[in-house]
């Protein structure tokens, strides 16, 4: 009886059925099939390019012919230590640090309000209010500030209306940060950098603050802490991983930017501009590559410290 059933010819399995059975049975096969295309792409296109970049930084340029000598040397890295090049690196790192600190201060109230007081519709509005500027066109944002900071532009007009022109003039006449007008001063550049990266700082701080339970703050008050004591000893330490996470973006983005400094700020170079000019007009790809290794290593170090401080839990 049973043999009769077993003798029935099995329905011919279609190829797709057999394939999908195999995918179900061998999970590893499915995983491999899923992973191979993205890994091939990122591995070859991206990691391959990074390795190519690293290789080039160990080449050097022949001073007489201007051609690239494809032999291993550390000469190009030694060139980075030339005072003019060190100056570029130092100036960029100081700018990145200043932008990061100022962004954190400006971002905190917005993040705090969004995390603790905004609810329902208001919360959604806050989310959009932070996301929209983050995603709007980078160049349009830079352009907006070119309009605003121009000598005849809106900022100068507004300052004139409220009698703040002397304040702006005193910033412009200050050494280092000043200049002939806001759009060609470090101060103007600094303002625009903050404007560009502020949303990147708000989001992780807000995420960190969302996780602070309200009862913790009430407990602190119940135990007799004044509001600013609660802020310093409870809220700030818990928000710190968010600040560090945000600072990864503000720092990294400032280090690598070379478009904004071309349009707003003084004519002295920042790191990104140096890389761009070296590989373009100067044709010195090895030195450009060595320069590009600087932000990579600064960021690697930064990420290492950030990881120790628990910043990655704040995303």
């Amino acid at each position: 009886m049973t043999s009769a059933v077993l003798d029935l010819p099995l329905p011919r399995e279609s190829l797709s059925r057999r394939l999908s059975d195999a995918l179900f049975k061998y999970r590893g096969l499915l995983l491999t099939l899923l992973l191979v295309p993205p890994l091939l792409w990122l591995g070859i296109v991206y990691v391959g390019s990074l390795i190519a970049l690293l290789l080039q930084s160990f080449f050097s340029i022949d001073e007489f012919s201007g051609t690239i000598v494809r032999e291993f040397t550390l000469k190009t890295y030694a060139e980075l230590l030339h005072p003019a090049n060190l100056d570029v690196i130092l100036r960029t790192v100081v700018m990145a640090a200043a932008v990061t600190a100022a962004s954190a201060i400006l971002a905190f109230p917005i993040a705090y309000y969004a995390a603790r007081y905004a609810r329902g519709q208001m919360k959604a509005a806050f989310y959009l209010a932070i996301m929209m500027p983050l995603w709007s066109s980078y160049l349009v944002k830079v352009y907006a500030w070119k309009l605003l900071l121009a000598k005849e532009g809106a900022v100068a007009w507004a300052a004139d209306q409220i009698g703040a022109t002397p304040a702006i003039d005193s910033i412009l006449s200050a050494p280092l940060i000043g200049g002939p007008s806001l759009s060609v001063s470090y101060f103007g550049q600094f303002l625009v950098f903050i404007y560009l990266w502020l949303p990147f700082m708000i989001l992780p701080i807000q995420a960190a603050l969302e996780r602070v339970p309200g009862s913790l703050i009430e407990a602190s008050a119940d135990l007799g802490a004044a509001p600013n004591q609660t802020f310093r000893t409870v809220i700030l330490p818990l928000a710190l991983p968010g600040v560090v996470a945000g600072s990864i973006f503000t720092f990294s983005l400032t280090l690598g930017d070379y478009i904004l400094p071309q349009i707003i700020g003084p004519s002295t170079l920042l790191l990104g501009q140096a890389v761009y000019m070296l590989q373009g007009t100067a044709g010195n790809i090895p030195l450009a590559a060595a320069f590009a290794v600087v932000p990579i290593s600064v960021m690697a170090l930064y990420l290492l410290i950030a990881k120790r401080m628990g910043a990655f839990d704040a995303f």
Binding site: L31, P38, L42, Y127, A129, W135, A144, F249, G256
Partner: protein, 266 residues
Amino acid sequence: MRSKASLGLKIGTGLGLLFLHAPLAFVILYAFTTEERSYQFPPPGLTLKWFGVAWSRPDVWNALTLSFQVAAVATILALVLGTLAAGALARTRFFGREAISLLIILPIALPGIVTGIALRSAFSLMDIPFSFWTIVVGHATFCVVVVHNNAVARLRRMSPSIVEASYDLGADSIQTFRYVILPNLGTALLAGAMLAFALSFDEVIVTTFTAGQQSTLPIWMLNELVRPRQRPVTNVVAVIVIILTFLPILAAYYLTREEGPASDRP
């Protein structure tokens, strides 16, 4: 009980938000100014004529078309690669998983200039001439992460039991993917695609390294910013760019609303 926000906090928040939003309003205002030579504020008069002038400029149309084509192809590539990666990384744990996640995020976490010069030096080492495709390769690389992030968020929210139910009811893997997983994933992929499109459409840093002689809309704008030719036309193009990036982002937000910030651009 929640106490009310203090006045200082409200002022700080309000000023911060004003700082984030006011500048773009000025760009829109300037598109209508009658002043041609400078950025005079307040504008001496308002006019609509620059929209017509910009409309009849072939260089603007060429740049716009190229940007659309690049963004479309880069988005399709990112959609395929990002979805595959999300399928592999969303639920399974295996050796090297963290490294692969890092690899996906890296193109956007490292400064754009590093990605740009790395691609350029690779192209020059391999003697690949710059073309439409070199731009697409760069864009697709950093767009994978946004599709991946959206798809992973949705896959993690999806109950694994609906997939099991599909198998129990006799569907094979391909049918399950076609009739169960894909409809659930649909809006997340659409949102990811919108964001990838917006990201590619707006990208300038990597593009300057991989574009050669071609000019996408952001490259066109950059040239106008560094060496202005006709400022009012630039103003109009800036407004068009604001609208073209605003719409897909808003759409992406409404498509993935319940998931919270899955669409963060890191």
